[in-house]
Symmetry: C2
Subunit: 248 residues, 2 copies
Amino acid sequence: ATQLTLMQIDNYGPWTVTPEPRREMDLQTMQSRLFADLAQFVGARGGYVFFTRFDNMVAVTNGLDRTDHELLQESVGNRYPVTVSLGVGVDEVPAEALETATGLVQNAGSAQSSDRSEAFAGSFHDDAADDDVHVAHFDVNDATGKYTDRLNEFDTFINIEQGYASLMRYMREAHGGLSFFVGGDNVIATCPDLSAEEYRGAVDHVADEAEVQLKVGVGSGPTAHEAGIRAKHALEDCRYEGTLVEFA
Amino acid sequence: ATQLTLMQIDNYGPWTVTPEPRREMDLQTMQSRLFADLAQFVGARGGYVFFTRFDNMVAVTNGLDRTDHELLQESVGNRYPVTVSLGVGVDEVPAEALETATGLVQNAGSAQSSDRSEAFAGSFHDDAADDDVHVAHFDVNDATGKYTDRLNEFDTFINIEQGYASLMRYMREAHGGLSFFVGGDNVIATCPDLSAEEYRGAVDHVADEAEVQLKVGVGSGPTAHEAGIRAKHALEDCRYEGTLVEFA
Ligand SMILES: Nc1nc2c(ncn2[C@@H]2O[C@H](COP(=O)(O)OP(=O)(O)OP(=O)(O)O)[C@@H](O)[C@H]2O)c(=O)[nH]1
Ligand SMILES: Nc1nc2c(ncn2[C@@H]2O[C@H](COP(=O)(O)OP(=O)(O)OP(=O)(O)O)[C@@H](O)[C@H]2O)c(=O)[nH]1
């Protein structure tokens, strides 16, 4: 099963405008440094974290236990002007795991409550299995030749973004999978155990709805990193074989 | 007029998989630290930079001259395993400025050419005026009460993302404005000189198309920071007055 952690900055909206609106580039720097730190912390333990909305980040944390989460929370509190609350959920379906994780944080208080600080709730996945985590790494076919080298960067971005919007909705609704844009033309999804046919369905849907042509490599493993690196190798196989879906 | 800089990482796609696919969390860390550094560099000189696709970042650089750009490029090359190419364009309409900036980088070689490294081309805006830059800071009404405190984080994200997708397309097509998601429920746009009526048109469009209710504060200034901080104060006015559009 997939273990997901919601990381939510406490009372961040009010902080951004207290006592006066803060310089936007200082907020951007703080948010992206915090994300980079979390990526190192979680990544060094085999997990994945996605920036999502920056004030709310979603992580696949199979392999990280309660102590790891407590350390992360304490270390952020010590080093940043903000604190984070954490909720953890476990389920075969990532959307269900996140539903649990989010509910736990919400129960501890509003995202804009000045009373809530460093809330922490959830139960952990103990008996790790080799196929706990399924990662799908999607990429736009020849994004460089079709968009990046031809259109202005914003029009390229609109195309990539439309493909992503279509994919994220489809994977969420059809399968309870959660898809995250990771830069360039790449999207990484945490999914239940899906067939090649089901992935082909997703690729076809995005081609129809957004006219963006994707390919996808899929991997499984006990952690997000292990599943994800297999997915990347499978994506390389797509590149060399010219195929749309490959499993590691 | 608005001065825009396209910052494109050189030959980044091939680098991510050479000699083997690299750990995703290391890529995420590198990308977000690079962005944070650029935000500090550009922000300290009055500019704004947006993460966009991370391998391609768009910056509003009124106030930064050729020497500033050269220093930025050199400093990135010294400190990161990648280099960046830069293109600079100037126009009253941001999309036109970016068209110029992107074209200059494209002319120097493909985003995936191993021959192109640290290309730099463009002309700069010399005679700064008080109303060179127009910044619109959009925010979703009561995102915390309507989404963050109620839905699971991914479903909140889908709603915010749909609103953003609708806004980015509308501003681009109707006005040549460029809108960037900056985290939470906030979007910052660099725009030509638009009227309250035109901003109300954008807010109405997003409410109709994506069922997301926005408000917007607008500011002008000689730099992105000065325009942007005025826009934030105008957005605070929206909050206190309950209005949809305010100018600083
Ligand atoms: N986060 C992340 N981004 C990647 C990875 N590989 C490539 N990218 C991004 O994707 C962009 C485009 O690279 P590619 O996907 O290799 O290029 P392409 O033109 O689509 O070519 P093909 O994928 O071979 O069709 C790069 O600039 C990176 O930003 C990866 O493993 N992780
Ligand atoms: N980048 C950036 N993000 C902000 C700023 N202000 C707020 N945010 C983000 O927006 C999120 C929600 O905060 P608000 O917009 O204040 O909350 P809200 O519930 O929509 O309330 P109202 O805007 O008052 O309707 C925060 O968690 C931040 O991530 C800002 O100035 N810059």
